[in-house]
Structures are given as C-alpha cells and as structure tokens.
Amino acid sequence: MTRRHRVWAFVALCVVAVAATIWYAGAAARRGTSNTVGSIADAGGAARLAAPPPRPYLISRSTMPGDTWRRLTLVPLSVPAGTGYVTDLACERAYFAGARGVCLVEAAEGLTIKYFADVFDERFVRLHRLPLTGLPSRTRVAPDGRLAAITVFETGHSYVETGFSTKTTIVDTMAGRTLTDLESFAVSRDGKPFRDVDFNFWGVTFTQDSNRFYATLASGGVKYLIEGDAARRTARVLRTGIECPSLSPDNTRIAYKHLLRADGYWQLRVHDLRTGMDTTLAKEVRSVDDQVEWADNDRILYHITGERGADIWSLKADGTEPPMLVRQYAYGPAAVR
C-alpha cells in the first residue's frame, strides 16, 4: 500500500467511525424519548398497573434493565412479585410515609454530578427539590410524613474502609427546607456530654410520635445506637454494635445490621427494646448492607445485590424461617401502610 492509499484508507475509517457513532447516538436518543414520554402505557410486553395499588403496598426502585430502570415501582404488599405501578420518579433511594415521600436523585450536569432530594406527594408529583452535598445513601420519612431524614456520603464513597464521612440532615417535607444537621445535636453518653470531631451519623428510623428517632453514630471506630429528639435537637447513646437501625411498626424491636468481619460482612439481627435481648437472624447467611424495612410486625424486607442487579428478600423477625425471595429486579424496599 502506498502512502496515498493509506491516507485514503484512514479517511474512510474516520468517516465510517463518525457516521456509525452519530447513527447509534441518534437511534438511542429516539429510543430514550419514546420511553420516557407516555412510558406507562408502553410497557414493552410486560403488563403494568394503570393506577397505584391500595395500601399496604411496597415501593422499590426497579433494577430491571430497560425503560423502568431506577423508576419507583409500587406493588401490593400481598402479591409483591407481581405486576406493579411504575411511577415517573427515578431515584437512587426513596421512602414514603404519611402523605409525603423523599426521592434521592442523581443527575449528570456537564462534567459534574449533582445530587438532589425531591419531596413528592401521594400522586408521586414533585413538590420540592433540595440540593444534596454528596452521594445519596439512606432516607426515611417519619410516620406522619412531616419530617424526613437524609444521609449522604460526603467523601469516600469508594473507600468505605479508609475514612468515609456521612452527613445526615432532617428536612421539613411540608415547607421543603432543611431544618438541621445531626452534627449540631447535643449528644450525651452516660449522662455526660459527648462530642468529637469525627462524628458520623447515618441510618435514621423514626418512632410513632414522628419526632423521636433512632440512628447510628460512629466515632473513633465505634458504632453507637443513639436515640434522638428532632424538636429538642438532642440525642443520647444507648449502646454499641448496632448499625442502620430500623424500628418495627409497633416500636418494640429494632432490626439492624451487625458488622461480623472487618471486610464488610454484615449479619442481620433484631434487638428487643423491652427485654434488651438480641436475636441473630442466622438463616440469612449472606451479607446484608442495607437499612432493612419492616413489612409488618413479623417480617422484615431488605435487598441483596447479586449478579444481575438487586432482589428484595424477606425474613421472619424471630429468625425461625429461611429468607424468601419477594421481588426480583428491585432495590430499596419501603412498605407503605
């Protein structure tokens, strides 16, 4: 091949490459818009519910590849594996209680990624949008729907082992504004003030009065269970070894993850607030890195990230039965009663 031939071959290669890329991007853009507009009717073969199911229902984020990806999906709690109602909300994490929900959103804007907390109502329409300072991690809404807690990773989202930092804020869902940061709370331990610069809070779970809450506080490598009061801005340390607490609907037990091995193996346990006893849910042998959710007073729900996304499983809270698969291609369960 002469030099001239080679130059022409190269020009041809460039033309083919550019044309093929533009053609593919154009096709993908058309596919994208046809999926987001009027998506609920166009289900691509899979049937969908035309309206939200009656309560109690399960909200989760779809991990099914395709046009339902990331979208909040509602299924009746009685038949959770079946057909669902797909909302227009696409979230990393979400929760709903009372008449308000919170959807933590990630949006690419040019070179940077921005994170938001969207407050929505029972029609799944966005009411407020609050900027977040880091990667969405956890969110919970108080039973009456007036307060919400949001946890983000500020640093170390990919270096869990080496000094991450979280920020947990309490949000007024009616006014759509941030009320306070747990780091400004007056924390006490054994009746004495407890303060340190390395405080990290996460995993809030609200009590029935929609003001008090339980959460995790980490300091000096130790994880504490704290009980807080949102109105008074106070919290006290109850005990250690409880991470990501989740309060049962009757407020008698806390389901939590317990770090069994330093490489990130978490075991599910239930702490009984009346007796102080802990039950290990040993029938679940896989590591569970999630703030679990109570389906009712007997069963808990959680997701397991597997080979092809995530699935939601359930477990009896007394640890007597092996885990059951509840819904495939679903992440972040929230039971709405």
Partner: protein, 423 residues
Amino acid sequence: MYQPEPIPAHAPPVAARRWGGAWRSIAPNVWFLGATSLLTDLSSEMVVSVLPLYLVMQLGFSPLAFGALDGLYNGIGALTRLVSGVAVDRWRQPKALAGVGYAVSALCRLGLLAAGPWWPGVAASIAIDRLGKGVRTVPRDALIAQSATPAQLGSAFGVHRALDAFGAVLGPVAAFALLTAVPRGFDVVFVASFFAALVGLGVLVLFVENLAPAQPPDAPTTLAGLARPLRDAVFRRAVLASTALAVATISDAFVYLILLERLGITVGAFPLLYVGTSLSYLVLAVPAGALADRWGRWRVFLLGYTALLAVYLVLLSAAGGPLAALVAVVLLGAYYAGTDGVAAAFASGVLQPERRGTGLALLTTSTSLARLLASVVFGWVWVSAGRDQAVAVFATVLAAGIASAAVALVRPATRTGGSGHRD
C-alpha cells in the same frame, strides 16, 4: 493536527539549543504513536470516567467490590507488561505487539456493550482491557525510543505523553457530553469509545513504522533472562531509585479524596480534579521532556518527585479553598510530567537497544507494584493513625528518598553521560 516534516529515524542528534528545535525535530513515528495513544486514551477514559457511575449507581454494585476489582486489574496489567517486554526483545515486532494490545482493548468496548447489566461480563471486559493495556505499553515505548535520537529521548516521550494526556482530558468531556445529549445512554458512550479506539488502531496500522534494533540480540531472550538488564549498574540504580520513590507515592484517588475532605466540596467535583491534573500534565509534558534532554533526565525526574512532595505539603498545610486544590492539581500534573515519560526516556537511553523491551518492562512493573503497595500502606496508616499523620509519614519518606536518590543517581549519571548527549 500539526504535522512535522518527515525526518529519518536516525537523524544526527540535533543540539536542542532552542526549545522549539526539540519540538520540530520529533520523528513522525512519535507523532503517529502519540495520535494512537490520544485516541485510545480518549476511548478508555470515556469508559473509565462513567464506569463508577454505571456500576455503582446503575447496576447497584458495591463500591468496595469495585475497588477490589480495580486492585486485581492493576496486578494483571503489571504481569502482562513483563511478558510483553520480553516478547518485544525476542521477536522484534513491537508494532505488531502494540497493535494486538490496542485491538484487544478496542474489542472490549463491544464486550461491555454486549454484557449489558450482567456484571461478570462487565468485569471480564474491563480485565481484558487492562490486559490489552499491559501488552501494548512496553512495545509502544520501545518504538518511541527507537524512533528518537538518543539526545532527544526526553522530548520524544514528552510529546507522546502530552498527546496521551490530551486524550485523557477529552475522554471524560466527550463521555459527559454524550450523557447530557442522550440521558442514561451508557451504551452510546461504549459505542463512541469503540470507534475512537478503532480509529486509533487505524493510525497505528496504517502510519506507524515498525522499527527494531539493527543488530540481533547476542543470545535468545527468554523469560529466564528477565533480570539481565539489571546487570548494568546505572540501570539497576535507576530501577531501585524509582521503585523506592514509588513506595512513597500517595495515589491520585487518595490525594483527591483528601482535597475534597479538606475543602468540603461535593463529590461531584471529583471529575474536575481529575481533568485538571491531566491538563497540567498535558501542558508540562513537552517542556519537562525538553528540559530533561538539556539538563539531565534524573534531575528532572527528581524535580518531578519534588513536585509530588509539594503536593503533600499542600495537603498538610492549613491553606484551604479552591486555590489550594488548583495548586495541588497543577503540582500533581508536574509530578507526572517530570516522572513518567522522563523515566522511560532515561531507561531507554541507558539500556542496550536490544534489551529495551525487557528493561522498560522491569522498570514500569516494579514501579507500579510499588505504587500498589504504597496505596495499601497509605490506607492502613490512614485508618490506624489518622489522615494527616499518614501524609506526614509519606512526606518524610519521600523527602528522604529524593535526597538519597539525588546522591546515588545524579552524580554517576553525569559522570557516565547517562543523560545521553553530554559527551
């Protein structure tokens, strides 16, 4: 792109009196290899910059699993380089070998597309991509060294690394532009990345000339002869010094992490720090290479590590705000400009041409393994003693390392004419 006049690969050494002189007398082969690297880096950085987003946010991967995979991949890359380096010396077909490496990486983009959300497919695609990178690095550097005159090795590597860094700047920009145009269009990013890699491979196949040392090796090169280049005292000291300095290196990811923590800005700014470092590297690579040719390659190499030491001091200082981040990012780019291409130029200058593949492979493998070790140690010191303490320990070790390397290397290198053209 600016195309220089063709110059024979072994043109008589041009005394680079003018800075522009170094620029103009770079062989076309180096420009073409640079163009291939630009397009390939554009292609791979497009994928790399969206991969955490894709895996962690879209597929629900655990970030820890992603970190573990990344460590494994770096190990694969290091070992592949050794084998590929020996193969360059044995078969003397660096162009074909580099072509295989580039082709493998290009095909991986299609693998990523085909794998969809099936994570073993995604993990395998990334692993094979790193394998391709491991295969091509040494033959490519051997080709650059063979295409340049001994006096201009620094400039040649500087030009190549600048083009490479330019690709690293364009990649994330292109990826995020595509994602803005086609929301959630990760497949579009993979397709565009594939075609960019294909065009890069086209430049290599159509325009790069295969240059191998004129004389055959005195004995057949085998894996057993891996240690042979180490018999040369100057090269041995170079490997020892660069490995020792690499042990005191805090990886970019940690530097960015500390910056973010200190400045209290959102994790969304992470890509900006990354692009800023590449920009600084891009601007400084050619001047650093030219300076290395004139002033001595080891001096510039140690200056590069001094820039890294300055990064540590910024991390330790009380100074905050975007200005501190900017200074740190510029210095980090200067560190890359002063060390990466310059080390390759130095090694290429002292190695016998027929042992260059093996020698370059030894150098890059030992430094990258040392960096891997450094990351583990740094993470461990951070957790057990604290962040600032970890940076202080690394700064002390690095300062001691620079001082001892200066004593061990700069003087003998000057005496033996190690910077190539001093006789």
